[in-house]
């Protein structure tokens, strides 16, 4: 406990320092080196340096143009202060290389003495320090041979390790991960952990619902499907736990200071988290292995308990990470005031809701991909029928959850803006806005694939041929919406192109790039997808109720009016003020939701005693449709990785936004291309793992191994 408090105390001291001076990388050292309060002259020295041009050439730790302060403090002693003052004043050349230092005749001796003394008091508070420094810098030089960049990482790491006062109990603020660096290591592992966790938490939700449908309708195939879904759970659960352990381990080793700070804030919330994990394991295995062993009601209760535990787990974990985005319940210096407020911070609930829905979409898509994978490997018609149906249900779950997702995202974005306008601008208007263009394209791909799958699905329904002619128009609508949805506002253009356009915005495309157009497009897109589904559902049915014709007209009118309403509001958005425009999206959404609900109700009554004109031939599905399912799963995963990066990345150079700065070498925002590559690699690793899980899940269905002779006999007997 003592060292823990010491760490906390050190952090806050370090924090005060950071709000005053802006010497970013200094903090790392300051936290360790400054056992006592800052010397009185420190602040003056920093102000003076900031007022002069020192920092253009000299950085705390890294040699930029001139030597780092650290190196200076290592080379000279305090006795040299007057000599150094004179040197700064006169300028110099040759001591540190062939780059000359400009003379500074305008600075007074007194000021210069303050600044130079500060260098020593910060970087060489004791003589012992000098020896330590020299040694470690030498070690770092040896390291830097390997690669320039990581040599630098190593050098910084080595020097920070060699900081004065490497006493037992004091640790560096950061350690470096070899080759890829700490950030990328934690990034990939965290993302993988999250994807598996999302899957493990989502599957029980819809497995339970499907099991319940089976229980209510008494149809065994629902029960079998739910069982098949949970087959994927147990292995995934182990993967989730292993990745979680790896993530914790990496964070503790690579970011000790951040972790001790977060521990100081969240303290005991770690305990229920760990306990709930036990409960999760118990319920999950009981749910899976107990299939058919309990009365259906008890089994359903087990599933419910599993889901409740899972939701609690995700809510606890969300509180930690959302605190890093939008800290609450702490003082400006970061000291804990109220633990519950820290948990219930601004983005906690929005992230909880957004994640729950996204998890279901993601889990459904992975389950759908599993169905596709098994379908393509199936050898009998029964298997094909079974897995075709499984893929269909998985996709249905994914798309149903996808439809409300934009609204949950909207709520989250709104809360981020409300928390910090700066963060909101960084998110939607700054460099990160390009990732939203990629997001838009991926969402377009999702909608296209989902519709495509439904259209192809009509081929397995006898009687659905009469709807084929609509595909063209549905596709046209999806395409136009997709194009509008994916058109950026600020275009990537060369200066020549920009000149022709008369600025950064194209006069015609600019119209498509703004909020009103996007909202309208996505609403029409959702509506179109719903119509595709409706036609699919009607494929083999003919309404027999007397009012069928009127019902059709009513549905048609609802769709037409809603579309017109949505488009009119969208166009109106261009002519009203921003705050009115933002509010227009609400009636748009409500109209679309209302249309979908009312049409569903009409349809249910209209087709209650419908004549079945043909059967659904499960399994009679073209292979290419299965690739659509796999594409949907990959796109979801990719989207999740991308948006996960955005969520984390908008903190920029902060660990805890506005409270604890990131002082590591990775504190910069990576280029979009680099981020996209890391996300892509993560997705590849994820699918490699998923392939292993699919294979493991298929083992239980394999025949038992028998010695060769026996198997020949048995085949002989079978013949």
């Amino acid at each position: 406990m003592g060292s823990y408090q010491c760490l906390r105390a050190r952090f806050f001291q370090f924090k005060n320092f950071s709000t005053r001076g802006l010497f970013r990388s200094l903090l790392m050292i300051a936290s360790v080196a400054m056992a006592s309060a800052l010397p009185a002259h420190a602040q003056d020295a920093q102000t003076l340096m900031k007022g002069s041009d020192c920092l253009i050439c000299h950085q705390p730790e890294i040699k930029v143009v001139g030597p780092a302060f650290k190196e200076i403090a290592g080379k000279y002693t305090r006795a040299d202060i007057p000599k150094l003052v004179a040197k700064v004043k006169a300028g110099g050349l040759g001591v540190w290389g062939q780059v000359p230092m400009a003379p500074h005749p305008a600075l007074s001796d007194a000021d210069l003495t303050t600044m130079v003394t500060w260098i020593f008091s910060t970087y060489a508070p004791a003589d012992v320090a000098k020896v330590g420094n020299g040694k470690d810098t030498a070690g770092a030089d040896a390291n830097s041979g390997a690669s320039k960049h990581h040599g630098r990482l190593a050098a910084i790491f080595a020097t920070s390790g060699g900081i004065p006062g490497t006493k037992p109990g004091s640790e560096p603020a950061y350690r470096a991960f070899p080759v890829i660096g700490s950030r990328v290591a934690v990034w990939i592992v965290a993302q993988l952990h999250l994807m598996f966790a999302a899957f493990v938490l989502a599957v029980p939700i819809f497995a339970l619902i499907i099991e319940y449908i089976g229980y209510k309708t008494g149809e065994k195939r629902y029960d079998d499907l739910a069982h098949e879904f949970t087959k994927l759970l147990s292995t995934s659960f182990s993967f989730t736990a292993s990745l979680g352990a790896m993530l914790t381990f990496l964070l503790l080793v690579l970011y000790p200071k951040l972790m001790s700070y977060l521990t100081s804030i969240f303290g005991w919330t770690y305990v229920p988290y760990a306990l709930l994990f036990f409960a999760e394991a118990v319920f999950m295995y009981a749910y899976y292995y107990g299939w058919g062993k309990f009365s259906p009601r008890v089994h359903l209760l087990l599933g419910l308990a599993l889901n409740i535990v899972g939701i609690c787990i995700i809510f606890i974990a969300d509180s930690w990470l959302t605190f890093m985005n939008s800290p609450n319940g702490v003082t400006e210096a970061g000291e804990l005031v109220n633990r519950w407020q820290a948990v219930d911070n601004f983005t906690w609930m929005p992230i909880n809701i957004h994640r729950m829905i996204a998890n279901i979409a993601f889990g459904g898509s992975i389950a759908g991909a599993y169905g596709a994978f098994k379908f393509m490997g199936a050898t009998t018609d029964e298997e094909r029928a079974e897995y075709d149906w499984m893929g269909y249900i998985g996709n249905f779950i994914a798309i149903s959850a996808l439809l409300p997702l934009p609204f949950a995202g909207y709520y989250l974005g709104k809360e981020i803006y409300a928390y910090s306008q700066n963060m909101g601008m960084t998110l939607m208007g700054g460099a990160f806005s390009w990732l939203f263009i990629i997001q838009a394209i991926l969402i377009g791909v999702l909608f296209l694939s989902a519709n495509y799958y439904l259209w192809l699905g009509m081929e397995r329904i006898e009687g659905a041929e009469r709807f084929r002619k609509f595909i063209k128009w549905l596709l046209g609508s999806v395409t136009i919406c997709f194009v509008i949805w994916a058109t950026p506002h600020s275009l990537v253009a060369t200066v020549e192109e920009a000149r022709k356009m008369g600025g950064a915005h194209h006069p015609m495309l600019g119209v498509l790039g703004v909020m009103s157009a996007k909202n309208t497009a996505v609403n029409v897109l959702i509506l179109t997808t719903y119509i595709s589904f409706l036609l699919y559902r009607r494929g083999n049915k003919r309404a027999t109720v007397s009012w069928a014709k009127k019902g059709n007209w009513a549905e048609f009118l609802i769709f037409a009016l809603t579309t017109v309403f949505v488009i009119v509001l969208g166009v109106l958005g261009y002519f009203v003020e921003a705050k009115v425009r933002i509010r227009l999206s609400v009636p748009q959404v409500l109209a679309v939701l209302g249309a979908m609900i009312s049409v569903t109700i009409i349809d249910i009554f209209m087709f209650r005693k419908a004549e079945i004109t043909g059967e659904i031939r499960w399994g009679k599905m073209p292979q290419r449709s299965q690739y659509a399912l796999i594409l949907i799963a990959i796109t979801f995963t990719w989207l999740m990785g991308l948006m996960g990066y955005v969520r984390s990345g908008i903190r920029q150079h902060w660990h805890v936004y506005g409270v604890m700065k990131d002082e590591s070498v990775d504190a910069f925002t990576p280029t979009l291309g680099f981020a996209a590559k890391v996300v892509s690699v993560t997705v590849l690793i994820f699918f490699t793992f998923i392939a292993i899980i699919f294979w493991l899940a298929s083992l239980s269905g394999k025949k038992n191994w028998k010695p060769k002779t026996e198997s020949i006999e048995s085949t002989g007997a079978a013949e």
Binding site: Q421, N422, G424, M425, T426, G429, G430, A431, S433, W434, I441, G444, L448, Y452, W455, L456, E459, R468, I471, K472, L475, V478, T479, F482, V483, A486, T487, P488, H489, S490, L491, V492, A493, T494, V495, E496, E497, A498, R499, K500, M501, G502, G503, A504, H505, H506, P507, M508, L509, G510, G513, V514, Y574, E577, A578, K579, P622, R624, Q652, T669
Partner: protein, 270 residues
């Protein structure tokens, strides 16, 4: 829009409906017509990045259309089999075998023989303003700040006009050189800049922003852009060194007056 290009292309697509076209011919016609509209039918031309995006969407959508129906797909497949196998198609096959590489080569040649130009910039000129700023030692809360002269528009129109006139003077003494006579970002200096000076006639620039945002941007200029999302490339000077606080508010009035746009209203605290 260049109607000489767009109308024939659209007519061709409409005409296609009345012809019995093979599915592949139909797809090719659609691809070509839409491409021609995108590439040559737009005035001013769209940047190539957007054309690329649209053509990619178009291509995949047409392929999806082809494969969304097994019958349609086998129609295309059968034709291709015959095209590659049957003797009577041999001359066409050879023509295609020569034309396709030639087309690709021409494209590569054209792309490589372009004059050297600066690469396309994906920079968003949408910096996040700080919550507050200091103007010559005076603290200004940017979230609450509003144009002190805006209310005169209704209360005292004559006084308002004097402020607009003062703003006009400020604009033509300082801003016109870059932002241009018509505020379209095409002043005499604009030729030297990348990115170009902002075009205020564009309804999605100042019309989307609050007056306090403009005040901050004018007062602090390029050097005052935030640390986030650096490096910025803005050549605009920090006008607080040359223009008084009142004059900045005046010129903002003039910008909106001249372009006929309205500033974004202040958000009310909930």
């Amino acid at each position: 829009m260049n109607l000489w290009v767009c109308i024939p292309a659209v007519l061709a697509l409409i005409g296609l409906r009345f012809l019995k076209t093979h599915i592949l011919g139909w797809l090719a016609a659609w691809w070509i017509c839409v491409f021609v509209i995108l590439k040559f039918g737009m005035v001013p031309p769209m940047p190539s990045s957007i054309i690329g995006l649209y053509v990619a969407i178009l291509t995949s959508v047409l392929l999806l259309y082809l494969t969304s129906d097994t019958e349609r797909m086998s129609q295309a497949g059968n034709f291709l089999m015959r095209f590659f196998g049957e003797r009577k198609f041999a001359p066409y096959l050879w023509t295609a075998a020569v034309l396709i590489p030639l087309l690709a080569g021409t494209n590569a040649y054209l792309a490589a023989s372009k004059e050297v130009e600066a690469p396309a910039s994906g920079r968003t000129i949408h910096p996040a303003p700080p919550g507050e700023m200091t103007f010559k030692g005076k603290k200004i809360d940017l979230i609450k700040a509003s144009n002190p002269f805006r209310e005169l528009e209704t209360k005292d129109p004559t006084a308002f006009e004097t402020h607009v006139a003062a703003g006009r003077k400020v604009y033509y003494q300082n801003c016109v050189f870059c932002h241009g006579d018509n505020m379209e970002g095409d002043g005499i200096f604009a030729y030297g800049y990348d990115p170009l000076p902002a075009n205020f006639q564009d309804p999605t620039t100042i019309g989307m922003l609050q007056e306090s945002y403009l005040f901050w941007r004018i007062a602090k200029g390029g050097p005052g852009l935030p640390e986030e999302s650096t490096p910025w490339s803005s050549a605009m000077p920090a006008w607080e060194k040359f223009v008084s606080e009142d004059d900045i508010w005046n010129v903002i009035l003039f910008l909106y007056r001249f372009t006929g746009q309205k500033p974004r209203a202040q958000e009310k605290a909930e």
